[in-house]
Symmetry: C2
Subunit: 515 residues, 2 copies
């Protein structure tokens, strides 16, 4: 796979990381992506899975999917043996699954700092932040339209987070930048403010091309052709519709060997049936069609089985999060993805709450735990999501990210060996004794238990004396502290300049558009 | 098993329930206890389980357990073949497990309303409220010592909760009642204000006797001997110590065929080793000794494998909740309980937070989900716990109880049949359509998705217009509404009088004591 250009050149620049370490820099070490050492939770039995798979094939065969405004796609399908009627594509039973077989079960997304490259698939879980909100919220400033400065702040918080392995994509919409130029500033921010892997733009095929070009500047053009350096989010317009914008971006990425998440976007009862089983039938049909199409573009292109699924409140029509039905769909989709041999994307810090309060935390914790146990390999939105995804919350970003630390520990499984069985400690302490001072405790206490870096563990009286802060206030202090101590990861000045030039040149070439 | 006296007599009183139903009473239907239709999550493999079981036997054989100030217990142990040295009891390898074999894998706890009787064990999960806090908290009145009025309020809230199957025990400490008379008022409140099953007193063997007598008045004396009508909490004084107060209460209950939870009370690193595996070794040894002892008192007495386990913050010494280590111990303990053939008690609405805020909800949601998937059969503290168990929170009681509804739905599993696979709906809607109006949705939308009765699902603008309430405020409104619409379940006036008389007579017989 070789070494990305940025690293090779950086070593010539010499020892920036070492110098920073020497002067006691506050930068936070990032944990390696999660390699699960625990079983998965599987809610469906073989008979149920087979029924869902059978019906998904029926959907593809009888009902089919629409590829909208995309003659090239229809041509590819026709050549592959599908029946094409206007924009409707019907797939003979078995064709989609057969085409999916060339997609890799696991792939590496290379980061410009190779220590932060991630392997997506298998037993791994890679965590990325919230994606897409047009608003941001903090307890002091309230809810407001997101700006580029917010975007940059969230990328910095992601870079500083020990438990995020991935810088994400549209961490919020920089609404103060013209729509047709946002992708340039966003990708530039990920490339320069973070050294973790990131996502590309999907809002227009030409913007996807820009992202590939920028990666060429960052990693080297040939390196990009030989390696996956972006994972991007292709939403399916559920039910059963693939629009030309998203599919156009997928075509660009797949052709360039870059990864895509092919993801139904489903609020159950609106974009899919109200039943868990029916939703799974549709999800599977949609993903198989999308993944199969990616393999028509380029066999072997890396792709992820995505499932953004939630339920609806039939009183208000609002999407609801952290619900048992969403959990069941996620568990089931994970099983279907594994049977298809594809990496799985689902779950996140989902909540419908308007504030980072108890509602937000119940809904989020329910979903994060499902994410871990359902076998998710790539968890977008793993921190910072608020109000049904309309809002990126500063405080919730660090509150959720803190919980991701607990997922790491849970995923590590239980060590059972002579030392952990602790017979010497039990003997030393004996009936009625106390373990705090015993040798085994002294040896292990620093690392024995996961500890929140946000929550308050002080006694009531101390907590009251210190002002009786609620969680968001504590989180807000952590946000301020992290942003104050942020330092950009080192980058070769030549690369930095070429990226800045590219963005300036591209921006100058077309007039601003907010459409 | 027959019918409890209270029911037989009540029918003579005639039709109270029916009359209330006619006039549109606000009383809430209680769901049946959960019968899991989903798999369990098992974190330990067979080798790990065998290692833990082997070492637990070694603990009992080599180190032993202390039965403090209890010559009768030592005599029982000696007769059973244990080695007794002062208060230390050492059990030959295999003895404890052999004695545990007479304990039932499942038992019924009868409620005075037989529709609310619960079966504890097997695939079932019975939910009971918080137990033990000396303080209560609500957002308006803040934190204060609990009084009998609070106790009665929490029993009423439990009776009104759709998702609580059990009225619990010391839902909070009525600190305005003398210590030596509290149990009378507490059990009287459970008996009269609720018709769900409840717990007896364990703070003195004589108080356990009082509870058995009161049950005789409520159910009939012979009925109590033939049926289990109380489940009570016997904490082990970990490590490895059984004090005479708790064991004395266990002796009373077991002799009278009443159920006990035999439960190590462990903050890892203080009362057990800092490691998950070491804690499980000690938990298993302690439970096996306690359960074996219950079977020496009365073979076949119903008993539950309890495990109250959490980790410690090594910075402050505070217990921490909702942590991955606590989850791992709970999952492991569930596996050990099933291998021992005993019902399992663990988990709850645990949190260290001082307010029903995001910290509380993350910690609680983490633990409730573990409770469901670890195979807990009896979940004490399933709602209302705050601040490490020092506080019963009014708002959190209804917030947590609401989440218990989600556990019911999750536990029901996924229905996969022709109707739920929803092919007609997918055909009817087709690519690009909308499911809200289709026949399948219209048929199912009222019951398709779980819906919180506390959370806010309104759009941001409406929510702001209505005051922008956080979750505890919404929960506080629900508390007020429930208490205002509470109505006592009907009771035969003769029984009611006999219970009131008993309490008055017992109270008059001894001077008040706050020790």
């Amino acid at each position: 796979m070789g070494e990305p250009a940025t690293t090779r050149r950086r070593t010539r620049g010499g020892g920036g990381a070492a110098r920073r370490a020497e002067r006691g820099n506050a930068s936070v070490e990032t944990a390696k992506y999660i390699e699960r050492n625990i079983p998965l939770f599987e809610v469906l039995d073989a008979e149920a899975l087979e029924a869902i798979e059978h019906h998904a094939e029926t959907v593809l065969e009888e009902i089919g999917v629409n590829f909208v405004n995309n003659p090239g796609a229809l041509e590819r399908w026709r050549a592959a043996g599908a029946s094409v009627d206007a924009e409707r594509v019907r797939l003979p039973r078995g064709l989609a699954r057969q085409l999916c077989a060339t997609a890799p079960a696991k792939f590496t997304q290379v980061a410009r700092n190779p220590e932060r490259s991630v392997e997506i698939g298998g037993k791994n879980l890679v965590l990325a932040p919230v994606y897409g909100p047009p608003f941001v919220h903090d307890m002091e400033g309230g809810r407001r339209y997101a700006k580029l400065e917010d975007f940059r702040n969230f990328v910095k918080l992601g870079q500083m987070s020990r438990w995020l392995h991935h810088s994400g994509g549209t961490v919020c919409e920089p609404t103060d930048v013209p729509v047709n130029k946002r992708h340039l500033d966003m990708v530039h921010a990920h490339m320069t403010l973070s050294d973790k892997p990131f996502m590309g733009s999907v809002t227009d095929p030409s913007r996807a091309e820009d992202c590939v070009e920028m990666c060429g500047l960052l990693f080297g053009e040939q390196f990009v052709q030989d390696n996956t350096v972006m994972t991007s989010l292709i939403n399916i317009n559920s039910p059963l519709t693939f629009d030309e914008v998203m599919v156009g971006a997928l075509e660009v990425y797949a052709a360039n060997n870059q990864a895509c998440i092919v993801s139904p976007f489903i609020v159950g009862g609106a974009m899919a049936p109200v039943s868990v089983a029916g939703t799974l039938v549709q999800v599977l049909a949609e993903v198989m069609a999308g993944v199969a199409y990616s393999q028509l573009v380029r066999p072997g292109a890396p792709v992820i089985f995505g499932a953004f699924v939630t339920s609806i409140d039939m009183n208000s029509g609002a999407p609801t999060f952290g619900t048992p039905e969403a959990a069941q769909i996620t568990y089931g989709a994970g099983q279907l993805a594994r049977r298809l041999g594809l990496p799985f994307r689902s779950a996140g810090s989902f909540c419908g709450a308007k504030l980072p309060d108890a509602q937000a935390a119940y809904e989020t914790a329910n979903t994060l735990n499902v994410g871990l146990l359902s076998g998710v390999n790539f968890m977008l939105h793993s921190c910072g999501w608020l109000e049904g995804g309309l809002v990126a919350s500063y405080e919730k970003f660090v509150m959720d990210a803190d919980q991701l630390g607990a997922l790491h520990r849970m995923a590590a499984g239980v060590r059972v060996d002579e030392d952990s069985l602790a017979m010497d400690a039990i003997r030393e302490v004996g009936p009625g004794g106390h373990y705090l001072g015993c040798a085994h405790t002294q040896k292990h206490f620093k690392t024995a238990f996961w500890r929140s870096e946000v929550f308050d563990y002080k006694p009531y009286e101390t907590w009251i004396e210190e002002g009786g802060a609620e969680t968001p206030e504590l989180a807000g202090r952590r946000v301020a502290k992290l942003l104050a101590s942020y330092e950009a990861p080192p980058m070769d000045p030549g690369i930095a300049e070429s990226l800045t030039d590219f963005v300036a040149r591209k921006k100058a070439a077309v007039p601003d558009s907010f459409m």
